[in-house]
C-alpha cells in the first residue's frame, strides 16, 4: 500500500472512535496525530459559521468562539482562501493580522495557531484548527499529517451530514478518490439545485440507505440510470 500515512491515520481514528456516539473523538485524535496542544473543527457554509463539531478543551473552544464572534482568525482565512494558514509565533507575528482575535487568544495561552481548510474541490465545509502553547512551526511530518487529517475530516463531515447529524461510527471514515463520485456530485447538484457539498452528502445518504458502494451509486448517476430529481418527486 502506497498510502502509509493515510492508513496509519485511519487506523488511529477508527480505534479512537470505536463505540463513540458522536464525532467528538476526532478532535482529540487530530491533536494526537499532529502532536499539538489542542484541536477544533469548525463547520462553515459559504462565509457563515455553522457550528463547532468538536474541540479538545476550553482553549480550543475559545479559539473557535473568538473566530465566530470576530469573523477573523486562522480558520476563517483557511476556509476563505482554501489553503493552509500558519502563524507559528502569535506573540511576535511576521505579518500583523487578526487584530481582534490575537490579544484574547494570547491571554488564553495560545502561542502558535494553524488553520487547515476542509474541502473537496469546490465543496468547502469548514476548517481544522490546531494550536500550541509554545511558539514554533510544524515539522514537515506534522504538516503532512495535518493535511491528511483535514482531508479525512472533510469527508467525515459529509458522512455526518448524510446521516442527518447521527454519527455512524468508524464506518463513516472513508477516503475514496474516484473521479466518478465528484462527477456525480456535480450532476446531482444541478438536478436538485443544491451545492456540490450537499450533493456529495446526498450521494452518501443514498449509498447508505440502499447498502451500496458510493462509487456504484455515482456510476449510476453518471450513466443516467439514477436521477435524484426523480427520487425527490417520488
Amino acid at each position: 500500500m502506497a498510502a502509509e500515512r493515510l492508513a496509519r491515520i485511519l487506523a488511529h481514528l477508527t480505534a479512537a472512535s470505536a463505540g463513540a456516539q458522536t464525532p467528538g473523538p476526532m478532535c482529540q485524535v487530530a491533536a494526537e496525530i499532529v502532536d499539538v496542544s489542542g484541536a477544533g473543527i469548525m463547520v462553515l457554509s459559504g462565509d457563515v459559521p455553522q457550528a463547532s463539531l468538536c474541540t479538545t478543551g476550553t482553549v480550543s473552544a475559545l479559539i473557535e468562539e473568538l473566530q465566530y464572534t470576530m469573523g477573523e482568525g486562522p480558520c476563517i482565512d483557511a476556509h476563505r482562501t482554501g489553503t493552509a494558514v500558519s502563524e507559528p509565533d502569535l506573540g511576535a507575528p511576521l505579518t500583523s493580522r487578526w487584530p481582534a482575535f490575537t490579544p484574547p487568544a494570547l491571554d488564553a495561552g495560545v502561542r502558535a495557531v494553524f488553520g487547515f481548510p476542509l474541502r473537496l474541490g469546490a465543496a468547502r465545509v469548514g476548517a481544522l484548527n490546531l494550536f500550541r502553547d509554545r511558539p514554533g512551526r510544524l515539522s514537515d511530518d506534522q504538516h503532512a499529517n495535518a493535511l491528511v487529517v483535514a482531508d479525512v475530516i472533510a469527508r467525515t463531515i459529509l458522512t455526518f451530514q448524510a446521516h442527518d447529524g447521527q454519527w455512524p461510527g468508524p464506518s463513516g471514515f472513508e477516503a475514496d478518490i474516484h473521479a466518478v463520485v465528484h462527477q456525480a456530485a456535480g450532476m446531482v447538484s444541478s438536478q436538485l439545485d443544491i451545492s456540490v457539498g450537499d450533493a456529495l452528502a446526498r450521494l452518501r445518504a443514498h449509498a447508505f440507505a440502499t447498502g451500496r458502494r458510493l462509487a456504484e451509486v455515482a456510476e449510476d448517476v453518471v450513466e443516467r440510470r439514477l436521477h435524484f430529481d426523480d427520487l425527490d418527486r417520488h
Binding site: M1, A2, A3, E4, R5, L6, G82, T83, A84, R119, L120, G121, A122, A123, L138, D140, H143, A144, L147, V148, D151, A175, I177, H178, A179, V180, H182, Q183, A184, A185, G186, M187, V188, S189, S190, Q191, S195, V196, V222
Partner: protein, 241 residues
C-alpha cells in the same frame, strides 16, 4: 520512436512559454498530457501526483473517458506508477499481455485496448513527486529516443509543479500538490454540472470547460471552481465548435 523531432522541440518551447509568472499548473499539466500523446505516439497519457497521504492520484489526463481515468485510479496503491514513484526510475515498455505483477490493473488496461504502459518519474533534486503515465496500443513501442523525449516532458511537469520555489521546501510542495489535486476534484465536479446541463459526456464536458477557459483567457482551475461552486452557470460556457 519519435515521429517528428521538430514537433518535440516546438512542444518544449510552447510549454516553456507557458511557465510565466501567473500560470495554472493543472492547465499546463493537461497541455503536457495531450502533447505527450502527440509527440510520443502513445494512445493516452496522464500526470499522477503523490498526495500528502502517500497515494498517487491523477491530476491531468489526455482523455476524460471513464475507462482511462479508472486506470489511473487503480494505480493509487500499486502498479507501474507506484514502482516508478518508489524507485525514482522509469518503467518503460511494460507488456500488459505478460505482466502478472498487477493482474487487476493489467486486465482492465487490456480490456480498454492498451498493450503497453510506461511511467516516467517527476523528479528533482532527489525528490520524486509523481509520474508521467502513458499507455500504448502496441507492445514495446517506446524506443530509447522517445523515452528520453518523454523524460524531458516529465521534467517540464516537475518544474511546473514546484513553480517558483528556489529551494524545495517540503511543506510548500505538499501544499502545491494538495492544491493541484483539489483543483482536479473541482474539475470533476464542474464536468458533472456541464454534463447535466448539456447532455454532453464527461470527455466533451471537459473539452467545453477547457475551450471556454482558453477563449476567455481564464485559468482552468479557477473556472472549474466557479462552475462547480455555482458562480458561473454551466450553460453560459461557450459551446464547442
Amino acid at each position: 520512436m519519435i515521429t517528428d523531432e521538430s514537433l518535440l522541440l516546438r512542444t518544449l518551447v510552447e510549454l516553456a512559454d507557458n511557465l510565466v509568472d501567473d500560470f495554472d499548473v493543472v492547465e499546463l499539466l493537461t497541455h503536457l498530457a495531450y502533447s505527450s500523446v502527440k509527440v510520443l505516439d502513445v494512445t493516452a497519457a496522464g500526470v499522477m501526483l503523490v498526495a500528502p497521504s502517500g497515494a498517487l492520484q491523477v491530476v491531468a489526463s489526455s482523455s476524460d473517458a471513464m475507462r482511462v481515468l479508472e486506470l489511473y485510479e487503480l494505480q493509487a496503491d500499486e502498479g507501474p506508477c507506484v514502482d516508478c514513484y518508489r524507485t525514482g526510475e522509469p518503467v518503460v515498455n511494460l507488456d500488459l499481455g505478460s505482466s502478472p505483477k498487477w493482474p487487476l490493473f493489467a486486465s482492465v488496461a487490456l480490456a480498454a485496448g492498451f498493450r503497453s504502459v510506461h511511467a516516467l518519474p517527476l523528479r528533482l533534486r532527489g525528490r520524486t513527486m509523481g509520474a508521467l503515465n502513458m499507455f500504448g496500443a502496441s507492445p514495446g513501442a517506446l524506443g530509447p529516443d522517445a523515452a528520453a523525449a518523454g523524460q524531458a516532458l516529465a521534467d517540464v511537469a516537475t518544474i511546473a509543479i514546484i513553480q517558483h520555489q528556489v529551494t524545495l521546501d517540503a511543506q510548500t510542495l505538499n501544499l502545491q500538490l494538495s492544491q493541484a489535486l483539489n483543483s482536479r476534484i473541482a474539475i470533476e465536479q464542474a464536468k458533472g454540472k456541464i454534463s447535466q446541463a448539456s447532455g454532453l459526456d464527461m470527455d466533451l464536458a471537459f473539452k467545453r470547460l477547457r475551450a471556454h477557459a482558453r477563449n476567455h483567457n481564464l485559468h482552468l482551475s479557477q473556472l472549474a471552481a466557479d462552475v462547480a461552486g455555482g458562480a458561473v452557470r454551466p450553460d453560459s460556457l461557450d459551446r464547442l465548435g
